[in-house]
């Protein structure tokens, strides 16, 4: 077994006295696609930021493989209107790329003709593609996406995730995604982690989708798209979730 790219042991984050993340043990192997799902406020984005080093853990630690190259696609970029920047220039941050390499990256991303356009004028889908193209230019070992398909319609999101799978196949990089876009995301993943402050359950998409813990968080009819967005309750320590999983959960709980 190769060493994990990034690993956490007992990672906890507190904010203003409240526990946002509670003793998270996590690791991702080279070439693996892992998706973290969880309701709003479950600490998904906080977890990504802790992995990036933007949030200091209150306990536990984050270990990166030496020389790990990260590619990060943020949920959105708060571009100030006062900052003029073209898509081509954005691709060259922080490492300059030649015009040829920039055009090639845009072409691969499916937006070949927008190099000279200001970032602020791009549509949501174009913007996401440029963000992804920029992250890939750094030849990452691990690609991290925070709600990568946010703002895309259903076909757009599906195409986006297919592209992620292609990227993994072409470059062999591992992918860590955070999403609430369950039905699309899950099929592309090797492993799904259901997060709600702590790791509720974890396993292959099929295992997690069948887990009562997961169903309790994301609704009963996990087949229908709409039901997935109906979060019946935020995490409460009840019989169906958390620390006293029944025997049928043992598989999912790993």
């Amino acid at each position: 077994m190769t060493a994990p790219l990034i690993e956490t042991r007992g990672l906890s984050v507190r904010r203003g006295g409240a526990v946002v993340l509670d003793k998270i043990d996590f690791s991702i192997a080279p070439g693996e696609i892992v998706t973290i799902v969880g309701p709003n406020g479950s600490g998904k984005s906080t977890f990504l930021r802790a992995l990036l080093g933007g949030i200091r853990p209150s306990a536990g630690r984050v270990t990166r493989r030496a020389g790990l190259r990260l590619g990060y696609v943020p949920q959105r970029l708060a571009l100030d209107a006062a900052l003029p920047i073209t898509a081509r220039r954005f691709l060259g941050l922080p490492r300059r790329v030649g015009p040829g390499a920039a055009e090639a990256a845009l072409a691969r991303a499916g937006v070949p003709e927008i190099g000279g356009h200001p970032m602020a004028g791009l549509s949501g889908g174009q913007f996401q593609r440029v963000l992804l193209a920029r992250a890939l230019l750094g030849r990452p070992d691990l690609l991290m996406l925070d709600e990568g398909a946010a703002g895309l319609d259903q076909p757009g999101a599906a195409a986006f995730y297919r592209r992620i799978e292609d990227v993994r196949r072409e470059t062999g990089c591992a992918v860590l995604m955070v999403s609430h876009d369950l039905h699309v995301v899950m099929s592309a993943s090797d492993r799904v982690i259901c997060l709600n402050g702590h790791v509720c359950c974890e396993g292959t998409p099929e295992v997690v989708a069948e887990a009562p813990v997961y169903r309790a968080l994301f609704g009963e009819g996990t087949q229908g798209a709409l039901a997935l967005y109906r979060h019946h309750h935020d995490h409460v320590h009840g019989a169906e979730c958390g620390h006293d999983h029944g025997p049928q959960d043992a598989k999912a709980d790993r």
Binding site: G54, L77, L79, D80, I85
Partner: protein
């Protein structure tokens, strides 16, 4: 050539504008105008301390400006609204500085010259400090340009690329303190922020990339410095405020241009 006070004044104004404008772009992009004000106001306290301790004005202003800028950076990092604290710090530093200067008997100084600048009295030595400081600031910004820009766009994006955004914050803090210490003689503590943000804001409609905006801002800043100096000579007006007026007129022109272009583009 440097014997002529007008030549020295022009060189001082151009040197200050050259350093202030690119830095001012970051001040505009990061919405840190308050930061420039707090730092500049604190510099008056530095002036008072320098006079009391018989130190060079530049050194005292730099040290206090740097302390204030570091404090403000630390407070901003807390992520809370620090508006009130900043206001208290900035204006207290200014008030204590002014009161401190008034205690200094025997030193014949004109406080106004530090509040609004005294560019016509710039000496050869001052000119050396101004251009030295300006060169240092330009070198700092050029060296860290890509990292500063990435951290400005998104701190997490920068972290993923191995850039520590807090380090870039400190670089900007240092550059700002140097510009304040350099510019206090030229436009004065109260108007330094104007030389930072007005040329940068004026450059925005003409620029498609961050680099172009910095270069255009520097050019507009130098034009404002030169035009303001000539106008103050012709009209017998205070030089620092006249330079800022010239910058403001350029800004108005740039805004009108942007508005007309916007209408044509939409129409």
């Amino acid at each position: 050539m440097l014997d002529d006070f007008m030549t020295r004044a022009a060189l001082a104004g151009i040197g200050t504008a050259l350093a202030a404008a690119p830095l001012g772009c970051f001040v505009v992009w990061r919405r840190m105008a308050y930061f420039g004000d707090a730092t500049a106001h604190a510099a008056i306290l530095g002036v008072a301390l320098s006079l009391a301790l018989s130190l060079p004005i530049f050194a005292g202003a730099l040290v206090v400006a740097l302390s204030m800028a570091t404090l403000v950076t630390a407070l901003s990092g807390q992520g809370r609204g620090v508006d009130t604290v900043l206001g208290v710090l900035a204006h207290s530093a200014l008030a204590f500085g002014l009161v401190g200067v008034s205690f200094l008997h025997g030193v014949r100084i004109d406080v106004m010259s530090f509040l609004f600048g005294d560019i016509l009295s710039v000496s050869r030595g001052d000119l050396g400090v101004i251009w030295g400081g300006a060169a240092l600031v330009l070198a700092l910004i050029a060296w860290r340009w890509s990292a500063l820009l990435t951290a400005t766009l998104d701190p997490d994006l920068a972290r993923a690329d191995g850039i520590d955004p807090r380090r870039e914050d400190l670089i900007l803090t240092l550059a700002l303190a140097i510009v304040v210490a350099v510019a206090i003689k030229v436009v004065g503590a109260l108007l330094i922020t104007a030389m930072l943000i007005i040329p940068a804001a004026s450059a925005r409609p003409f620029a498609r990339t961050p680099e172009a905006m910095a270069v255009i801002a520097a050019a507009l800043g130098m034009v404002a410095a030169f035009a303001g100096l000539r106008a103050s000579y012709a009209l017998d007006t205070p030089t620092g405020p006249t330079i800022v007026c010239a910058a403001a007129i350029l800004f108005a022109g740039s805004s009108i241009y942007a508005a007309i272009r916007g209408r044509l583009g939409n129409g």
